[in-house]
Every structure is written in structure tokens, then in C-alpha cells.
């Protein structure tokens, strides 16, 4: 039983077609990683799934529900089931860490206040920031902000979590604290789609690697197969360049 099934999804930025028919699927609890050169469209896949970049064709199924993003209602339904963590964290600058975590659960999902707050504290503990609940984003380091962003996404209790290059904007010494948090989620069985340049990390946590180039999916497979034994020239080329050192 596939949990997420993406078939022939297309998307455009203006006149430029950035996704030229993308199809893949993931099972519940599976971790898929999108890799490929810059501009290959991997981030656009996540943006399209969140309804931030409109899709111009194809279908998306989550469980048994078909999402076709054609109305505000459908987009809302998709956003209700998934949550995204951005490269630039995008924490709400005018709110404390706690407010960032509880805003949507309280105001959009309308969950009970005590439950939401208890859960928020649990998540802050999970990402190792229990003591910073009342800090503002600009008082935190990049790594801390990204961990808050991760907790904020989890507070929505998403069925699928999307991570868009979550370590790319961080100083090297801060990368591991964020990856450790993601690792914990992987162990808890969270379904995730990860766009990342951290190949060692992808190899470690991903169940499935999807290699993209120029808006197409070129190759799909287990990390070991893709990285060490890729079947296509383009993938082999790419990995030989970035895995050399």
C-alpha cells in the first residue's frame, strides 16, 4: 500500500517547465531522498506538494485521497496532511519559539490548548531546545532556528514531513545538531521526503533515493545501489563529482 503516490506531475515557473512529468511513490514510514544537481527541480517537487508552486498536470494521491490542487479547498487538504521545513527556516520573526509552534495547531487545527502546549514542550525537548521556548528567532543560532522549524512542522502532526535542504544555510559546525534531530525522527518511523546535499546522511537514513535532473526523475533505488552502482551516465557523473572526496 503506497502512502504517497505522485504520477506525472508537471509544474512551470512562468514559461519555464521545471517539472516535466514526475512519478514516484513512498510507503508509510519510508524515507525518500531527492538528490540531483542545482536546478534539477527537487525543491520544486516539495513546493508543488505543498501547493506553493502550482502544478499544471498530473495527480497526487495521499492514502486513498486524490489531491489535485485545483481549488483552494484541495490545496488546504494537502497542506493539512503534510508539513514542510524550509532551507531558510522561515520562522515567524514576530513570535516566540512557543508561539511559532502553537500558532497553527491552536488557530488552524483548533486542537485543545493544554494538549498543544504539552506537545510543543515535548517536541522542543526532542530537538534539544526545551530552555528556549520564550526566545525570539533572532536570538537563536541558525542551527537552533532550524531545529525549532523542525519542531514547528512536527507540531502539525503531519502524515508526511518534507525537508527542503534543511542544512544548506547552516554553518558547517551547526549541521550535525539538525541532522541528529532528523535522525531521531527517522528512528520514530516518520514518513519523510528529504531534499539534501548531505550524501553521507542520505545514505544513512534514506530507504530510497530519487535522482533528478532537468525536471525529470532519472533513477530510483536503494542508496547503496544508486550511489555506488548507478545505471545511468548522468547519475554516475553526478555522484562521481560529489562523492569523490
Amino acid at each position: 500500500m503506497q502512502h504517497l503516490e505522485v504520477s506525472d506531475v508537471r509544474a512551470k515557473y512562468g514559461t519555464l517547465e521545471v517539472l516535466k512529468g514526475i512519478s514516484f511513490s513512498i510507503k508509510k514510514g519510508e524515507i525518500a531522498s531527492l538528490v540531483g544537481p542545482s536546478g534539477s527541480g527537487k525543491s520544486t517537487v516539495l513546493r508543488a506538494l505543498m501547493g506553493l508552486t502550482p502544478i499544471t498536470g498530473g495527480t497526487v494521491m495521499i492514502g486513498n485521497e486524490r489531491m489535485n490542487y485545483s481549488s483552494a479547498k484541495e490545496v488546504r487538504a494537502a497542506r493539512d496532511r503534510m508539513a514542510i521545513v524550509f532551507q531558510q527556516y522561515n520562522l515567524f520573526q514576530n513570535m516566540t519559539v512557543m508561539q511559532n509552534l502553537t500558532l497553527a495547531p491552536l488557530k488552524i487545527k483548533k486542537w485543545g490548548k493544554t494538549d498543544v502546549i504539552t506537545e510543543a514542550h515535548r517536541l522542543l525537548g526532542l530537538v534539544g531546545l526545551s530552555d528556549r521556548a520564550n526566545a525570539f528567532p533572532d536570538q537563536l543560532s541558525g542551527g537552533q532556528q532550524q531545529r525549532v522549524a523542525l519542531a514547528r512542522a512536527l507540531a502539525l502532526k503531519p502524515q508526511i514531513l518534507l525537508l527542503d535542504e534543511v542544512t544548506s544555510a547552516l554553518d558547517p559546525e551547526l549541521v550535525n545538531e539538525v541532522l541528529d534531530a532528523v535522525r531521531k525522527l527517522a528512528n520514530e518511523g516518520m514518513t519523510m521526503i528529504i531534499v539534501s546535499h548531505e550524501m553521507a546522511f542520505v545514505r544513512e537514513v534514506a530507504d530510497k533515493v530519487i535522482f533528478m535532473d532537468e525536471g525529470h526523475i532519472i533513477e530510483v533505488g536503494k542508496p547503496a545501489d544508486i550511489f555506488d552502482n548507478s545505471q545511468t551516465n548522468r547519475a554516475r557523473d553526478f555522484f562521481s563529482k560529489i562523492l569523490r572526496h
Partner: protein
């Protein structure tokens, strides 16, 4: 010259000064009322203007046209149009109301651009984060965008209101008992024009200058990075 010196004690008499004080109060009151209402309406205008979708295209055009047109018509013409239009609709509207409506119409056009600039200064990524959590457009505006746009909006909005104190002098033409009107009245009573309008100018200066200083102070304060300001606040509490 002797005439002025001779008039000074009589001119700066108690009744005259009370008159001018009241007039200054009226000038300030109608400017503030008009600008505050205008500021509020400008938010609505900007919100309507940013309505997405094809169906809202005429709406966007109306909003843009409004702002463009009002910036190109002299305030005195707006005053006359409002005066005669309102009098045709409800003949017993007070002149103060008419002045406030004219000020308000003008303030909407000018502050709408200020508000739009403030909203556009908030990174689009903040909006995307809000959208991906299913916040509605109104919720995103009220909870995320406006709190962050506030420091960019407030100083120029205050500067506009302060500078508009001076422009309300034109309202004297339709007979509102504000500063300029009282000035002309005193001049007609035979007081020297130099004396009267010098004093009136001074009254405007005393209204305008401290308020513009306050505006500049606020601008500096709001420009302080968020973190610093907050930590200061936290220390105080």
C-alpha cells in the same frame, strides 16, 4: 511698524489667545481624526488591492486608480468636491465632518502606498511558511505580515500626518474655525497681517515641529534590531 507695536498688547489679549488655542485644537483634531480613519481605510484598500485571482482584477484597478488619482488632485479641489457633494446628499452635515472626510480621502491615498511598501518589505518566505500551515490570507496578514511591517509603516505614516497638519490650512476656505480661518478673521478685524500671520505661522510651527521630532525619534527607535529591543524590554520587566 509703530502700528504693529501698538497692536501687540491688544492682539495678545486673553480672548484672542483662547480663540487661537481652540483653533489649534481644531486643526489638530481634524487632522488626527481624518488621518487615523484614513489610515484604517488604507489597510482595507491595500488588502483589496492584493486580492489574488482574475476575478479581482477590476477591484485591483479601482484601488490603484484611487491612489493615483488622489495624489494628482490638489487638496483644495478635493475639499470643494466633498463640500458640495456632501451638501447635496445631506445638507446639514457639519463643516468639521466635511473637512474630516476630505482629509480622510486624501490620507487613504497617501498612506496606502506607505502600507504597501511596509507589507512588501516582509520576505515572501514568511508568507510561504504561513501558507504551508494553512493560514488564510487574512490570518497571514494580521498575525505574520503586519506585526513585522509595523516598524516600516509607522514612521512615514506619522510623518505624513504631521505634514498634513499644514495642508489642512486650506480647509479655512470652507469656513471651519481652524487656525488659518481665525487668522483671516483677526486680520479682517484690523490687526496687522504681519502680526497675525506671523503668529499663526508660529502656532503651526509649535504643532508641527515637536510632532515631527517625535516621529523621527520613533523612527530611530523602531529601526533598532528586534533582538536588542526585546532583550532591553526583558531586562526591564
Amino acid at each position: 511698524m509703530e502700528r504693529i507695536l501698538e497692536q501687540i498688547p491688544r492682539f495678545f489679549s486673553g480672548p484672542n489667545m483662547t480663540l487661537l488655542l481652540e483653533a489649534a485644537g481644531l486643526t489638530l483634531a481634524m487632522t488626527l481624526t481624518g488621518c487615523l480613519i484614513g489610515f484604517g481605510l488604507a489597510f482595507v484598500l491595500v488588502y483589496l488591492r492584493q486580492t489574488p485571482g482574475m476575478w479581482a482584477l477590476p477591484l485591483r484597478w479601482i484601488c490603484i486608480t484611487y491612489v493615483e488619482v488622489f495624489r494628482r488632485i490638489p487638496f483644495i479641489v478635493v475639499i470643494y468636491l466633498v463640500l458640495f457633494f456632501i451638501q447635496a446628499v445631506t445638507p446639514d452635515a457639519s463643516l468639521f465632518t466635511i473637512a474630516v472626510i476630505a482629509i480622510c480621502l486624501y490620507a487613504v491615498a497617501y498612506t496606502a502606498d506607505i502600507i504597501r511598501g511596509g507589507i512588501e518589505s516582509v520576505p515572501i518566505t514568511q508568507v510561504e511558511a504561513a501558507q504551508s500551515m494553512n493560514l488564510s490570507r487574512l490570518q497571514t496578514n494580521i498575525r505574520i505580515i503586519l506585526p513585522q511591517a509595523w516598524p516600516v509603516i509607522v514612521p512615514p505614516a506619522i510623518a505624513f500626518a504631521v505634514s498634513f497638519i499644514k495642508d489642512t490650512a486650506l480647509v479655512s476656505q470652507v469656513g471651519v474655525f481652524e487656525l488659518t480661518f481665525r487668522g483671516k478673521e483677526l486680520n479682517n478685524q484690523g490687526y496687522s497681517g504681519l502680526l497675525v500671520f506671523g503668529t499663526i505661522a508660529l502656532c503651526y510651527f509649535l504643532l508641527s515641529f515637536p510632532l515631527s521630532m517625535l516621529g523621527q525619534y520613533l523612527e530611530k527607535r523602531l529601526a533598532t534590531p528586534r533582538g536588542e529591543r526585546r532583550s532591553r524590554k526583558i531586562r526591564h520587566s
